[in-house]
Symmetry: C2
Subunit: 239 residues, 2 copies
């Protein structure tokens, strides 16, 4: 079955042979947040056919990217191997690049706790966070709610409510400094083309608890600079 290779001796080619097939990198994206069971992955990727999920998990185990967690209780739990975790720079780079192409969501598009967690990681600015006071946010986007703790240049995200309790980090104690709900327009705040004040004004962000001025800290901590995007570029020469 592995005859589906590109016939080149090259790192990029090797990489694309290992994780270039449909759904593979999205499974990795979710596993970068934490170990997951088959059903968790399925719920996080609602449109994946069940046979494809099974096939990808098997291929990635054969490739040394994914493994079944040792010390599993009842039923298998999938986690990334160290080599699988080394895909994090790839996924973050892809997320930043894709961010510039995002428009309004299509009808039926979903936001999942894992995808939003990774989105926050792609936008996270450790240097800025290290210079700012520690903060504890509660972020609501669509029907996903996350507890987002930023301290000393480190980012910790924990899902709230309808998700499974996280393996590693528990819920932080105490009340968050700021609770807010945001629509898709928050991407313009992340991009810096909309100030937090303007976002509140226009209803893109609703502050549910805490000082709205703290949104400035959020915007400095989570930022993606858009240096190029589709549409901006000059048109081609016709044939």
């Amino acid at each position: 079955m592995a005859a589906r290779n590109y016939g080149q001796y090259c790192g990029v080619t090797t990489a694309v042979e290992l994780i270039g097939e449909r759904w593979a990198l999205l499974i990795v994206r979710d596993l970068l947040v934490g170990a997951r069971r088959y059903t968790d992955l399925k719920r996080g990727l609602p449109r994946i056919p069940t046979n494809i999920l099974a096939a990808r998990l098997k291929e990635m185990q054969d490739s040394g990217i994914v493994r079944r967690a040792p010390f599993t209780g009842r039923g298998p739990i999938y986690e990334l191997t160290p080599y699988g975790r080394a895909l994090e720079p790839v996924v973050l780079a892809l997320g930043r690049w894709g961010f510039a192409a995002m428009r309004e969501p299509d009808e039926g598009d979903v936001i999942t706790p894992d995808s939003l967690t990774m989105a926050l990681r792609t936008a996270f600015q450790p240097d800025a966070a290290a210079r700012l006071p520690p903060m504890d946010y509660e972020v609501h986007v669509a029907d996903v709610a996350l507890r987002v703790r930023v301290a000393e240049g480190r980012l910790d995200v924990v899902p709230l409510a309808p998700a499974l309790p996280p393996v590693g980090g528990d819920l932080p104690d105490g009340e968050p400094d700021l609770v807010f709900a945001a629509g898709p327009g928050i991407r313009e705040v992340i991009a810096g083309s909309l100030t937090p004040a303007a976002a509140v004004e226009s209803g893109v962000i609703r502050v549910l608890a805490g000082e709205a001025s703290l949104l400035d800290l959020f915007a400095r901590t989570f930022h993606i600079e858009i240096t190029a995007s589709p549409e901006i570029d000059t048109p081609a020469v016709p044939a």
Copy 2:
């Protein structure tokens, strides 16, 4: 045709929808080296079906990743848009990750000037290069020959012989400081698990002109640290 999306509102998903199909990132890899004509791309990707190449180029033009170069002489020339060039971090991250999974080449695997150029870029260490004296290498791998100039933290690669003359940079004048030919084992030199001296000893590298000791500079300038790889990782728990 665009109904082939993943149904998520997420940057990673958006990115994979744009450049996740077969061959797309390899076309981008080659275009990152320079603008190319249809036949150049085909020669650089010998196994790509011609209809797929045409389809990918069309899709990527619609997505604002590729365009036909303005001011074209005779026949179209494809180049990356600024947004397409913004894929460079993605391709470099993929190349570094894939590097750790490379083994001996399969029979029939080819090395192309563009793939080797990008491989050098993935391994390039600007900081180390900035601290070392400027160097001018001529590198032969398989039947590809490149002129590789490193100066002040910058890297310039120009193909020799059977490739088309580059658009931007011309051949540097004068003789290279070091000319050498390497086999696939050079990846262990890049990884740091084989010293240049041992590589010369074992025949992995043959010095054709210049001081063999200059290979140490090469190895410090082009390096990929392998922190994880398949096989190293602990085996999974059986079902």
